[in-house]
């Protein structure tokens, strides 16, 4: 392993460190580009939990570096408090069991699924942080 500077991986690590709940996904919460990302966003939004979101599609290196960092091959990936929480299957399973709500510190019996993005949802662009 070399200690070469790796700005994309550094930016990913920084984003995970700075955001208590952060989702790496295909597309944006407003316009998910994959059914699995859409389902994960829907679970978070129906709990009303604020989360940051990163679109991995603009640059293939984002996904490459993210998976190298997280040791998780697929997208989406949800991180809570700096730790990988899971992909779509685990998030969905934990949402249904109430464990996701517990982890996020929100009420499990959330109101009806919301149409609009949760408060605090904000797309971020890793690639924009590299210039």
């Amino acid at each position: 392993m070399t200690e070469q500077s790796n700005p994309i991986r550094d930016a990913i690590a920084q984003a995970i460190g700075e955001n208590p709940v952060i989702l790496f996904m295909k597309g944006t919460p407003e316009q998910p580009m994959c059914g699995f990302s859409a389902r994960t966003v829907a679970a978070l939004q129906s709990l009303g939990a604020p989360f940051a979101a990163v679109d991995i599609l603009p640059d293939p290196r984002i996904r490459q570096e993210l998976s190298a960092l997280s040791q998780w091959p697929t997208i989406p990936q949800l991180f809570v408090n700096g730790e990988l929480f899971g992909g779509c299957d685990i998030v969905t399973e934990m949402y249904e069991s109430g464990e996701l709500a517990q982890t996020l510190g929100v009420e499990p019996s959330a109101p009806e699924p919301v149409e609009q993005p949760a408060v605090g949802a904000r797309p971020m662009g890793i690639e924009n942080r590299l210039s």
Binding site: F36, R63, Q71, W72, P73, T74, I75, L84, F85, G86, G87, C88, D89, I90, E93, M94
Partner: protein, 73 residues
């Protein structure tokens, strides 16, 4: 392209004692339910990682998606 049977065989070869039920409508998207004693004491993340380890580098490529549910018998 891997078939559902291929994916089942790979999972069961990777995790001794595991039973995998795998379905695929198109040999690109797979849905698997894996039951294994080996999952005992592991977090869900670790359970899924163990299954994923059967497909080094193929997930997101040849195997576009693997929907996964892990269980301890």
């Amino acid at each position: 392209m891997p078939t559902a049977d291929d994916v089942k065989a790979r999972i069961e070869a990777t995790i001794p004692g595991a039973t995998a039920d795998v379905e695929s409508p198109d040999n690109v998207h797979f849905n698997a339910r894996v039951v294994a004693d080996a999952f005992a004491g592991m977090s869900r993340i670790e359970q899924h990682r163990l299954v994923y380890s059967a497909f080094e580098g193929e997930l997101g490529g040849e195997i576009h998606a693997l929907q996964l549910k892990t269980e301890i018998p």
